[in-house]
């Protein structure tokens, strides 16, 4: 008998060894070694208690996706995080509210072509190398030479960049611009010590943690993909060492897991896009949790294929049909169901949060399916066979392919859109699909209707850029395929208009044109909802619409 039991135990141990053997070794190996954090001097700016050793103040952030890569040259995700490790010449402290960054001040010549920046002295990168005007010039030139795809396009008018002395940077433009501060807010200043000498291919392949070296308030010390990321305070930061010593980003499988973790106290902050609107009421009911609701530049829209060579049916190009579709979309329902009220129905593409850039004269098309049906009827789209779906003059039924992301919330929105269209006699059953497949539709403009959204840049230039003809090339931003010569002319003009009021008028005109041509039907302007534990931290700035944004985070401190 004992033999049998031993045999059983032997089986199990063999199985376990088999499992261990499959790995080759034991626990997970870290991808790369972090640069050794140097022991800087004790932070002097914030008053410290007199104790000899202090527990580091740690802020734990929960999210469903940390980022795609440490490499800023190819990384598109989580600009909030990048803003904490890198600096830029100018920083954003609120929607379209800019403050000095590495540049203390700046002036421009009368012709608008020569900008002179006064650079802050004494700044160092996390690896100790200096960051003077010469180093900044090197970084900007490196960006342009290597056409760094994530932010070189902001510099497309920069003809010459040179450092006049260690604290003066001079930029000569090929054409004047009206939004210089905005152009600079995303151009990370990167260290020569890391990036010099790399070939373009090497730049794209660089995955070492050193890619995170910048001059920002935090140093990237650790990243385990899919699990966590750790930032340590930079004691030499030029604004002074931050009050929070350490930030840990933690990845969870679902949004609800993040919310649960926050309620349970496992994390201190739930990152911006990690809170489902259905959880807001629960969070607000918790007395230890603060739920700031802030303006954002996020919009979502229904994209109507506007490419002249796209695969959409001819009927979709008819302005009457587009207008009818606009009447058939119940934006308030979308706000209620998808956003639980934390959004507002949209009109033009520039959201209200962008202040006077938003064209408030344009009246949105209300939800009125009867009117939509009437428009179609008059335009000759009648339902001749009584199946509830209208046909065009050639007898082709109005059946459109309606695509969108396959997560829960977008699916709900697709249903609302589809139902609305059915009410005016258009058949567009929802066809949710995964993100990669959606992206795959664009190069050939092979779709009719797509539901998607944007997190727009704080300057209206970007919102307009996505409708320009050039951006229709592969890798460009133009997802609707829209290309109109009149619009192109207006875009070019606003790009070089320095006078703000003149530019504003142009932007308004462009919004009106887009509204009437309808490559997009903009659905909502969403709010950003975050949540944090007010029993642990306080003092977050709310203006940028993200409490983890650099300017918002630097004012935060632990609750004593």
């Amino acid at each position: 008998m004992r033999n049998r039991v031993w045999h059983l135990l032997a089986t199990l141990s063999i199985l376990a060894l088999l499992g261990a053997g499959l790995t080759g070794c034991g626990p997970a190996s870290e991808p790369t070694q972090a640069p050794e954090p140097t022991q800087g001097p004790e932070p002097t700016l914030t008053p410290q208690p007199a104790s000899a050793t202090k527990e580091p103040v740690t802020l734990r952030v929960g999210t469903t996706y940390i980022w795609d890569t440490v490499n800023p040259a190819i990384g598109w995700y989580n600009y909030t995080l990048r803003y904490l490790i890198y600096d830029t010449l100018v920083e954003e402290a609120g929607i379209a509210h800019f403050i000095p960054g590495l540049a203390e001040s700046w002036t421009v010549s009368d012709d608008g072509l020569v900008w002179t920046f006064k650079i802050r002295p004494g700044v160092r990168f996390h690896d100790g190398t200096p960051c003077t005007a010469e180093d900044i010039a090197w970084s900007l030139n490196w960006t342009i030479e290597n056409q760094i795809e994530t932010f070189a396009f902001y510099l497309k008018n920069f003809a010459e960049i040179v450092a006049l002395d260690p604290t003066t940077l001079q930029v000569t433009l090929s054409e004047p611009v009206g939004n210089m501060e905005y152009l600079l807010m995303y151009v990370w200043i990167l260290p020569r010590s890391v990036w010099e000498g790399m070939t373009p291919d090497q730049i794209l392949e660089f995955e070492d943690l050193k890619a995170g070296i910048g001059t920002g308030p935090y140093r990237l010390t650790d990243w385990v993909e899919g699990e966590y990321l750790i930032l340590e305070a930079n004691p030499d930061y030029w604004r002074g060492a931050p009050a929070i010593d350490r930030i840990i980003w933690r990845e969870y499988a679902t949004e609800d897991a993040v919310v649960q973790a926050l309620i349970a106290g496992e994390i201190d902050v739930a990152a911006g896009d990690a809170i489902p609107n259905t959880a807001i009421a629960t969070l607000q009911a918790e007395k230890n949790i603060e739920v700031p609701i802030m303006d954002s530049t996020s919009i979502d829209e229904l994209i109507l294929n506007s490419h002249e060579n796209g695969t959409q049916p001819a009927s979709l190009n008819d302005p009457a049909v587009r207008l009818a579709i606009a009447y058939a979309i119940d934006k308030q329902q979308i706000v209620n169901v998808a956003y639980l009220g934390y959004a507002e129905p949209a009109s033009v593409i520039v959201p209200t949060s962008m202040g006077d850039w938003h064209n408030s004269d344009v009246q949105d098309i209300p939800f009125d399916p009867k009117e939509g049906a009437r428009i179609l009827e008059e335009a000759g789209y009648k339902d001749s066979d009584g199946d509830g779906i209208r046909e065009d003059r050639e007898g082709r039924p109005l059946e459109y392919r309606l695509y969108g992301n396959d997560e829960a919330t977008p699916v709900r929105i697709l249903e609302i859109i589809s139902n609305g269209l059915a009410q005016i006699g258009i058949s567009a059953p929802p066809q949710p699909m995964d993100e990669d497949s959606l992206i795959g539709l664009y190069p050939a403009y092979d779709f009719d209707l797509i539901y998607w959204g944007w997190g727009l840049d704080p300057d209206p230039d970007f919102a307009m850029l996505i409708f320009t003809c050039d951006q229709r090339e592969e890798g460009g931003w133009n997802d609707s395929g829209y290309c109109d010569q009149e619009f192109e002319a207006m875009y070019r003009q606003q790009a070089v208009t320095v006078d703000r009021e003149a530019r504003r008028r142009l932007i308004w005109q462009m919004q009106e044109k887009l509204f009437n041509d309808r490559p997009y039907i903009v659905l909502t302007y969403a709010k950003t909802v975050q949540a944090y534990r007010r029993d642990r931290f306080t003092g977050f700035g709310l203006e940028p619409g993200d409490i983890l944004w650099k300017s918002a985070l630097l004012t935060a401190r632990p609750v004593p």
């Binding site: 679902t254 949004e255 609800d256 919310v259 649960q260 309620i263 489902p276 259905t278 959880a279 009421a281 629960t282 969070l283 119940d330 329902q333 209620n336 169901v337 639980l340 009220g341 396959d406 997560e407 829960a408 919330t409 699916v411 709900r412 249903e415 139902n419 009410q423 059953p429 929802p430 949710p432």
Partner: protein
């Protein structure tokens, strides 16, 4: 018949049948029973989203403001359809393969059984995930995937039974007088095989329903179709932190109810059909190993 009276006398069988009948009735009568039409267009306010149960909505409302109870009732349809269709497919394929392999034997038989062994060894859910990832999602694909992977037990079972029956006196006599293969299979072998197949099919239905719900939960179902699995998918993504237990729990328990009913029925059938083996033959490893050894 003796079998039916034995079944009726077994409390597990009776309870299981009762439970199953409830579900079937619900599925058939959903339009009459459901207080609301789950596909109807609604005008909802934010307060309606994930609203807790009240007099108008006995199980509250889901994340789109729709009545959970109605969805639960209609969801029975998809779950039952998937379960029955997929296992019917498995039954047909498995029986055919088992009959051919067992009756004709030889190289064809061996080759077929190798395929069976191969499919049995591969882990089910990963294989389904991989196939669906490539083929695309949707109800039809799920049914196909479950049906095409679930026939192996039946095949093994049928084959081993056929091997036994094949050597019986009346079969040998039939062959001696020149009866055709089809005749023998249909008149002598098949009737012996059928009870086992049915017992196994009932269990296969419960497995199919569980697998459909897992696949739907993992996001591979058709999100525009109401099934208990997709309800749980939406619930897991949007309802947990709102603590909307009325949306989370009912679909899961509905799945358990149906599975359990089928298991009870299947268990009972099995006891009747296989009186000598008082074990649950879905789980009888010794029997599986014996089958393996004789193969």
């Amino acid at each position: 018949m003796a079998a039916i009276s034995k079944f009726v006398r077994n409390p597990m069988g009776v309870i299981g049948t009762g439970m199953l009948l409830v579900v079937v009735c619900v599925a058939l009568l959903a339009p009459e029973l459901a207080p609301y039409d789950p596909q109807a267009r609604l005008q909802v306010t934010p307060a309606d989203i994930l609203a807790p149960p009240d007099a108008q909505h006995l199980l509250g409302r889901d994340d789109a403001g729709r009545d959970v109870l109605s969805q639960l009732l209609y969801g029975a349809r998809v779950s039952l359809i998937v379960g029955f269709t997929a296992s019917f497919m498995s039954m047909i394929i498995g029986t055919t393969v088992g009959l051919v392999a067992g009756y004709f034997g030889g190289r064809v038989g061996n080759a077929l059984m190798r395929v069976v062994d191969f499919l049995m060894v591969i882990p089910d859910l990963p294989l389904m995930l991989v196939i669906i990832a490539v083929m695309g999602r949707g109800l039809l694909n799920i049914i196909l995937v479950i049906g095409l992977l679930g026939w192996t037990y039946t095949a093994r079972l049928v084959r081993s039974q056929v091997l036994t029956v094949r050597e019986r006196q009346y079969v040998l006599r039939a062959r001696a007088i020149g009866a055709s293969h089809m005749h023998i299979i249909w008149h002598h072998i098949f009737p012996q095989v059928l009870p086992l197949v049915i017992a196994q099919a009932v269990l296969d239905i419960s497995v199919a329903i569980l697998e459909e719900s897992s696949l739907a939960f993992l996001g591979l179902g058709d999100p525009t179709l109401i099934s208990w699995g997709t309800m749980l998918n939406f619930a897991f993504e949007r309802a947990i932190s709102a603590q909307a237990w009325w949306f989370l729990l009912p679909p899961g328990f509905a799945i358990v109810w149906v599975s359990l009913s089928l298991i009870l029925i299947g268990n009972t059938l099995d006891q009747i059909v296989n009186p000598r083996l008082r074990s649950h033959h879905l789980f009888d490893a010794r029997r599986m190993v014996n089958i393996q050894n004789s193969g």
